[in-house]
């Protein structure tokens, strides 16, 4: 009996396995696209908008959270192995050349040409960001969705204090204000360094107060700070002939200024600080200013006003306004099985509708129409208060056509990693600035296997990166440095 029952069960199980199944047509819901992106704020917001997208289109969007330090290697490994694990790649501007040149990203020009212009609104993206983030050798490989372009944050309550203004002018011979050069930034850093018992804006300081916050740890930020100094002076990581420029006299001067004239006035933890620690230093009332620093951190920085009595946070371009300009780009992986769906999502996410939602949630959009929307900014002063400054920096970059050579080298991602190491070595005193830059030059040559190929053909034959003076007069007149002043000026 038991044997018969067992045979019956086996036959039933086999029938279940081999029985023909009803064929259902593939629906949109059956398509799932995967998006490798940065864990944290970026993803929290993306989760929300991705669900909206799923509801409206029926395409499933699977978000793969990856910590930023591991994002590059994870994506490259999957792309090299051709696994198709990610349909959409997220890249930093420094990786764009490598991702495009190596064929990890699909050229999007045909997709863009066939898409609804209203959805893409390509001309609405800041030209500086399309140049740094989207284009490679004349083709478009991605769309920017989040700009981290750098600028300057400062405690305007301290800068506008009459006692401090008088004392500064007496000591340095010019008025205290937004620094227009890195030498001025160093003066201000030195001026605002106060020890316990000294006076700051009429009050006795109880704990050490520092002139500047710096991200000098071995984390991918120290290079953005030091490169900004060198670029604003016209010195290059990679010269036009492809040789490393970091050992040139001018470049070494920039590194020395950082190490010897800025770092001594930063909190002792500067050499183990990344961007989040500098935000914390500002919010704890420990520092007077920071540059170059990511403007997208404004929503976090402005919380200082609630947490430090009497504090006000203002923004400006980093001295000289030539700094780390770019965005996280979204591109379609060349091994994607659903390139059209992936592109549609990228276009939607980087498009005006999603970007407006992104901006309302505290993101730094790449869309000019939102960056210049006075009503929107007035409605969101705590999350969009840096937009006027950001727009000035992006405009200046586009007008000057100044894009450092480094962005046009296919080994950009690897060189970026080398920069972190050697700038950190110089900043911490592990190496002298000269010794560290010698080693960085060797590392660049090793990565490029000799001369680096600079593929800046997209910018024209006569392209030479030369900095252009920033129009501080117009900037100051606009009131963009202080969101309240700027909003008031819009009414006039």
């Amino acid at each position: 009996m038991i044997r018969k029952l067992a045979i019956l069960a086996l036959v039933f199980a086999l029938a279940l396995v081999i029985a023909p199944r009803p064929v259902t047509p593939a629906k949109a819901q059956d398509v799932t696209i995967t998006w490798a992106t940065i864990a944290g704020f970026y993803t929290d917001w993306a989760e929300e908008v991705a669900r909206q997208y799923e509801e409206s289109t029926g395409v499933n969007v699977e978000i793969i959270d990856i910590d930023f330090p591991s994002l590059y290697e994870n994506q490259v490994l999957e792309a090299v192995a051709d696994t198709g694990a990610y349909d959409i790649l997220t890249y930093d501007v420094g990786w764009k050349a490598e991702f495009s040149e190596s064929g990890y990203l699909l050229p999007l020009d045909d997709y863009i040409a066939n898409a609804d212009p209203a959805v893409i609104a390509f001309d609405d993206i800041s030209p500086a960001l399309t140049e740094t983030t989207s284009k490679w050798r004349g083709k478009t490989f991605g769309l920017p969705y989040y700009t981290f372009t750098m600028g300057y944050f400062y405690r305007c309550d301290l800068f506008e204090n009459p006692d401090e203004m008088v004392a500064f002018e007496a000591e340095y011979g010019y008025p205290l204000g937004i620094p227009q050069t890195y030498e001025q930034l160093a003066d201000i850093a030195e001026f605002f360094r106060r020890e316990p018992g000294e006076t700051l804006a009429g009050k006795t300081v109880e704990a050490d107060f520092y002139g500047i916050g710096l991200m000098a740890a071995r984390a991918p930020h120290v290079q953005d700070e030091i490169n900004s100094i060198a670029w604003s002076w016209g010195y290059k990581v990679i010269e036009d002939d492809g040789t490393p420029g970091v050992t040139s006299e001018g470049f070494l001067k920039a590194v020395n200024l950082y190490v010897n004239e800025l770092l001594p006035y930063a909190p002792p933890g500067a050499t183990s600080s990344a961007f989040d620690q500098v935000v914390a230093q500002m919010r704890q009332g420990l520092i007077a200013q920071t540059a170059a620093f990511y403007l997208d951190q404004y929503p976090n920085m402005v919380k200082t006003e609630e947490e430090v009595e009497g504090a006000r946070i203002c923004t400006a371009p980093a001295p000289g306004a030539h700094t780390w300009v770019g965005a996280f780009g979204l591109g379609v992986s060349s091994d994607s099985e659903h390139p059209q769906e992936a592109f549609d999502f990228v276009a939607w996410l980087a498009g005006p509708e999603a970007q407006r939602a992104f901006a309302a949630g505290g993101g730094s959009t790449s869309r000019v129409s939102i960056l210049t929307d006075a009503a929107f900014i007035a409605e969101h002063p705590l999350t969009a208060g840096h937009y006027p400054t950001l727009q000035f920096v992006l405009d200046h970059t586009a007008k000057s056509n100044f894009y450092p050579n480094y962005l046009f080298v296919p080994q950009g991602g690897k060189i970026y990693d080398e920069m972190t190491t050697w700038y950190s070595a110089a900043a911490s005193g592990d190496e002298s600035p000269e010794g560290a830059m010698e080693k960085m030059a060797e590392a660049i040559e090793r990565q490029c296997d000799g001369l680096c190929e600079i593929a800046n053909d997209a910018l024209g034959e006569n392209y030479t990166p030369v900095p252009m003076p920033f129009d501080y007069e117009t900037f100051l007149a606009s009131g963009a440095y202080d969101i309240d002043v700027w909003i008031a000026n819009q009414g006039n």
Binding site: A217, P268, D417
Partner: protein
């Protein structure tokens, strides 16, 4: 009847029973043993031997994953030549050695000392043991991130604690002279409990008779330690030492989460340099050569130490058998 003759008798009875009722075995003992270990062998084959074979192969080729050539032609010993002439490799090796020597020494001394204290404890031994095990249970990366903030000079708790001892503020992870010691402190915090646990287990397994005899003979504590406790604990301590040393020279998680190899290159140990070469720069050929050299040194070290250890075990077994 003595114990030995009782065992002999039982064995003889068994053999007779077997002879009396011969039963055909379905499979031989050898086949049965092979079947038992087959799943483990398959796993080792797939997850250890095949990757190892592939790494050996790649170490003799050109393999830059991000170049159009990808994994290309054989280049002989070129990658080994490159690695052995690479200053950064040797500097990283020196740092690794420095870390391993200091960290393992501190962990062994502190771990054994604490194990002795715990062994003598009369109350709360179980709870203390459970608490001590906590650092082992935590993920090194997660705890490393917490420690990074605790070490931070501007917000961390360590500067407050050392200030209570009258020591000035320190830049734990940002000072090139201090960063490696800060990583060592973290490793000691996390891995000393391992030494404690194993040593404690060894202490608790020691026979009581020799110690009671020594006590009756009036032997001093030092003499008991020197002539009884430590010699009897040697196999356990050797094993702990080997395991900790291998683990210390493979240090990665703590460096990744605390310093990312910085400031500069002061905490860039061999595994971190290997990671950068292979997974940041995608030079799998050089990374494979490095990994194999690293494996070779580890195997030789383990072999040397374990050979003596196994000899001692064998001698002891023979002694007990006789």
């Amino acid at each position: 009847m003595s114990t030995n003759s009782a065992v002999y008798q039982a064995d003889s009875d068994l053999k007779q029973t077997a002879r009396a009722a011969p039963k055909k075995q379905l499979i031989s003992d050898t086949v049965y043993s092979v079947l038992l270990i087959a799943p483990a062998l398959v796993l080792i084959l797939f997850f250890a031997l095949i990757p190892l074979g592939y790494a050996i192969n790649v170490s003799f080729r050109f393999a830059d994953l991000t170049s159009p050539r990808g994994v290309d032609n054989y280049v002989g010993l070129e990658n080994y030549h490159f690695v052995l002439n690479d200053d950064f490799f040797w500097e990283a090796a020196q740092r690794t050695l420095f870390f391993a020597v200091i960290a393992v020494a501190v962990e062994m001394i502190a771990g054994v000392a604490i194990a002795f204290l715990l062994h003598e404890m009369r109350w709360f031994k179980g709870i203390t043991r459970s608490l001590i095990i906590l650092p082992l249970a935590a993920s090194p990366v997660a705890v490393g991130l917490i420690w990074r903030n605790m070490y931070h000079p501007d917000f961390g708790v360590y500067n407050y604690l050392v200030s209570l001892l009258g020591i000035s503020e320190q830049n734990w992870l940002g000072d090139p002279d201090l960063a490696m010691y800060s990583v060592i402190i973290f490793d000691v915090w996390q891995w000393t409990p391992f030494v404690i646990l194993i040593t404690l287990a060894g202490l608790q397994a020691l026979p009581k008779e020799p110690f009671e005899a020594a006590q009756l003979d009036g032997a001093s504590t030092w003499r008991v330690l020197r002539t009884l406790t430590f010699p009897m604990l040697t196999p356990v301590l050797t094993l702990v030492f080997v395991l900790r040393t291998i683990d210390a020279i493979r240090l990665y998680d703590a460096v990744f989460s605390l310093t990312s190899g910085g400031p500069g290159t002061t905490t860039e140990v061999l595994t971190y340099y290997l990671y950068r070469t292979g997974l940041r720069f995608f030079r799998m050929d050089r990374a494979s050569a490095m990994a194999l050299l690293f494996l070779y040194v580890t195997v030789v070290f383990t072999g040397l130490v374990m050979r003596r250890f196994m000899r001692n075990i064998a001698a002891r077994t023979r002694q007990m058998a006789s």
